[in-house]
Symmetry: D2
Subunit: 348 residues, 4 copies
């Protein structure tokens, strides 16, 4: 898919100079699949999104990964062990802040059901749940998400990727507009081989006056309100088929702040900005008797293209969330309008 096709397809301004994959989404990385469970009824506007790195058990086929905490005002779980061991071992789950325990419970139940040895002859499992606070639209105190909603999102994995006000993105806000799930991808040619970088974001950050579209300040016609701190967050998931180890994946994840900054964020105090990068090029076995993979990692000097791909795909994914998200009315009649309703001139 070339740049003009992409623009044709979804009217979203195209970020950067690298080409995109066929779907311009994280699912362009072979094996990566996404599922949503969306809860939308009155004051309940929330959900769960699940990302799988491959079709096998993530516990027996652990995924090399690294996370970077850009601003740690957040409640994501699972990063301590991921940092120590350089892998994750469950599907990735996204949800709202107060639904983290329900989703952990869903992940634990699923892992034990698949592997009854967990917590018996095998070690315990490390849940991996990211969150943003959707409390403006969603009655977050209602604890509407239950463990089964994680399972429902997991069952939906493999469906065509939906973006916008779906799954964990249902109640999220971005630049005081309707935010949510966005995705994009970029292709990088290294040594005559094409690698894909895919991004999926849960965009829930930013004040209107910061919003910057492809370098143009869109939001700053409004007077800034310095008293009200930002309460949002963004979760940025990066997948690639390039062979990278955990240290290199941390370097990749670090570059997510570049794309984020270019949309106008200044990494606000109250914004839990967290990035995770994983590679699908190999997996790590659970069993100590299993053979370890022997992988030639990418030479460090070849990573600049991947860094550019991260910057472009993150910025693009944030725009994609804004372009896809419909207007939503939730708790106490709170309304977040869709971007194109507020700025109709942005329609292609």
């Amino acid at each position: 898919m070339n740049q003009s096709d992409v623009n044709q397809a979804n009217k979203i301004p195209y970020v950067g100079t690298l080409g995109a994959g066929p779907l311009n989404a994280i699912t362009d990385v072979a094996g990566v699949q996404v599922g949503h469970c969306t809860l939308s009824q009155g004051a309940i506007q929330t959900g769960v999104t699940v990302i799988r790195a491959h079709g096998h058990s993530h516990f027996t086929h652990k995924v090399p990964a690294a996370a970077v905490v850009i601003n740690g005002f957040g409640k994501s779980v699972g990063l301590m062990q991921l940092e120590e061991l350089g892998v994750f071992e469950t599907p990735i789950a996204l949800t709202n802040t107060f639904s983290v325990p329900a989703v952990i419970q869903g992940q634990l139940g699923q892992a034990i059901s698949t592997h009854p040895e967990i917590g018996r002859t095998w070690p315990t499992v490390n849940p991996l749940v990211f969150e943003c606070n959707d409390g403006y639209l969603n009655d977050i105190q209602a604890f509407a998400v239950k463990p089964e909603h994680y399972l429902q999102a997991h069952d939906a994995v493999g469906n065509p990727l939906e973006q916008g006000a779906v799954g964990a993105g249902r109640g999220m806000s971005c630049f005081e507009l309707k935010g949510g799930i966005g995705s994009a991808s970029r292709l990088v040619s290294i040594d005559q081989r094409s690698y894909t970088v895919g991004a999926l974001v849960l965009a829930n950050f930013g004040k209107r006056e910061q919003f910057t579209l492809c370098g143009q300040p869109i939001g700053n016609t409004r007077v800034m309100n310095p008293v009200e701190p930002e309460k949002g967050s963004i979760i940025m998931i990066l997948a690639t088929d390039a062979p990278l180890d955990a240290r290199q994946l941390r370097r990749l994840a670090t570059r997510s702040s570049v794309g984020l900054a270019r949309t106008g964020s200044t990494l606000g105090h109250g914004s839990g900005d967290v990035a995770l990068a994983f590679s699908t090029a190999y997996t790590i076995p659970q069993e100590r008797s299993a053979k370890m993979p022997a992988i030639a990692m990418l030479h460090e000097q070849k990573m600049d293209g991947l860094f550019q791909a991260v910057a472009e795909s993150i910025e693009q994914a944030i725009l994609s969330a804004l372009w896809h998200a419909e207007s939503v009315t939730g708790r106490d009649g709170h309304l977040r309008q869709a971007l194109l309703e507020v700025y109709p001139d942005l329609k292609a």
Copy 2:
């Protein structure tokens, strides 16, 4: 309480050369209180332990703190935000690995109940839950701990401190003996003022052949089994009334590995070894309109005594857990014997 009184009272070998507080426990730090909820019925041998830093709401009176991940094979939650902001804002909870979501749920419910503004006009709250895997004695897959057990442990805060096979320590093992909750304190004189360092551990680590008592190898008469990796963990909570900021508290928490190493641990691969240190000398207000405290922190060159106190109190607290813990039989008839049953010669 001097050294000989302590020995008199509990027959536990006294570690080091600094004096202890009146209780030789974390509760010697003024304001710090502990409560347990213990579940003990057949295959269910587990529980929850709660530590409070002071008598006010921890959300409105945030506690300066820092955590150190010595070995990150663990599932504790809340450390990302604690690292970013240098405070915690709920009571500290300890439990088993699979009960983390239930205890988070308990903390969320309690925080919202106390402060209905949380997740509405106020930000969300950051649960702080530490865990070890008690799956040898406890049917961890049964998810026996419920949110109300957190509340019950919290209700018990202020009771005289119990140690051993109680609360979160009910099902824990240490050096393949019965482990659990242990505590100790040390006094440090700085500039004619006495400061207290208190330690509370959830001891669930170590292979028998590693066990070292005051420098003496006790366990290594057994042949070591190099194939079976350690699956344990230890949580080490440190409290002090010395005025320290988060950076200095991180330095304190780092020294917990000294006490741990001296009991024989080599920080095994599968052992989630995590330390948290907090100060009771001041609190940080939630509201931006509130006055910030103006505290003269301790001069860096005066910290060596505190470092020694950490090393001694952590080693002492681990011994205290072993000395207090009764034998427990749990899941599938698994038995962990009390230390003094296995080594009766250690009785004073």
Copy 3:
């Protein structure tokens, strides 16, 4: 100085919406002063820049600070102790990569000369030297910088701030144009008080096709060369008179990547991107007998304005380096042209 005055004065596009200090430079932070020593003769195009936080000995009046390594491909020295203790204790020095040892030697000599107790009855001193590789223009293998050049730069501290191809910036390149020293400042009003954030950068990064001016891609008319990795770097020094501790200053330094990203950088593999933030609101005494300051730090929720100020002042400082730097011909006839020679349309 308001925005239009600034534009009037130096024709540099004004970044962002916050106002600047009177000089739009790091020296707007009271007490902060800068000096340069410039070496410019044939193949030798290099130098030293020194920044002082205050007028006292930095060893006896240590400066609260934190550094953030955004991309660690660099050879700066002094960050390990700065991270541990949260202070620096010499003036800040900038130079080229291979001149780091000469400048350390200059700092050591100066510190011992001022305080003969250092390394005797007092501890040793922690040199703080940042560097970028100016090897394209400068014969870096000639080791032209000597310890006395550090002293000469130090002697020049207090002169009106020069920017561009001066001091450590003499041989630096930025977006394959002439780079070097740039500076800017922004004012933030918090609780009816005005705080200043000042930035000084040593800009030596970026490929032409990345260069982005106030959101507009300037450089990307050229075909990108994906094979040649970036070899540059940027050092970003932030000063503020806001009362912040080391942890808070780390949060400030983290936001420097926002300004950097907006100029087009994707934090290239070979770019040593390092930021340091310090506060002039208080100092920490060397002597253990001295009284420690009792400072009410800024409430965390009031930091968003400072974060915006960092983003704006870093972006502005990079532009300022490009606007000020004259064309320089150095080693082997290598030429870096001034920005306005290559893009004359950018002249106001």
Copy 4:
């Protein structure tokens, strides 16, 4: 070499239960070699020690490695880039605190001499220099070490390993006794293959009353002096032939604190305690066109034996430094006595 042979050879109490390599030294790791340059004349009691990981250029054959800063009161250089890239690219150098710039200069000169492309068509080189403060015995303000002393130490690489008051260890103190260079090794059998862990320490830490020999408090007959903070440090270098990546090597380096703690250290405020671990199982090429190695790393669950080896070899290496170091009189008649002079009963 079995345990009894080791004891026979050098009378040093044997630490732990694992066997040692033939030399009980870091040079048991195939390819690892050490050289010293010792300066000993009156008030000048100092030197340089160099460790090579293999016989090739370390710049073209980069060595996988990780460093852990246990206590950052130190001035070692090179760790920032090592952390980012997971390799080092010069021989490892040890010296006194104020000789760091001279040794950097020596490393730069050597690297450029070997590879004139460095700083021209190739990137610059990252010097790696560790230090301790030998100012009690050595006139550290004299800057006696020159760049050529680094080269002399490098020329001595390959000689039989000397320990004690030699090289960088010449002026070092340990527990207020004569310290310096010590080394040890341990063998670990994993999957029917024997791996070696070698340790070399520059021991310059500790107060007498802390000194603990194989669990026995030796030094604490003296009254402790709480006013005088520790000013020492220890550098701990670990080599192994096990195939580990940088993340795993960081886990190895972390365990060095276990061995250190068991000798009595409480990681004093003023002690720069730094550990580096490297693997000789493979190297990383400089040139982007070179083939990257495809290595099956050790399964994480097999690392416990290596962790034990680190703990034992570090403790043993510290003892070895004390056993080998002769009494030295230096600056102002300061004397550090050899261990066995002060404690003759420790002679086997």
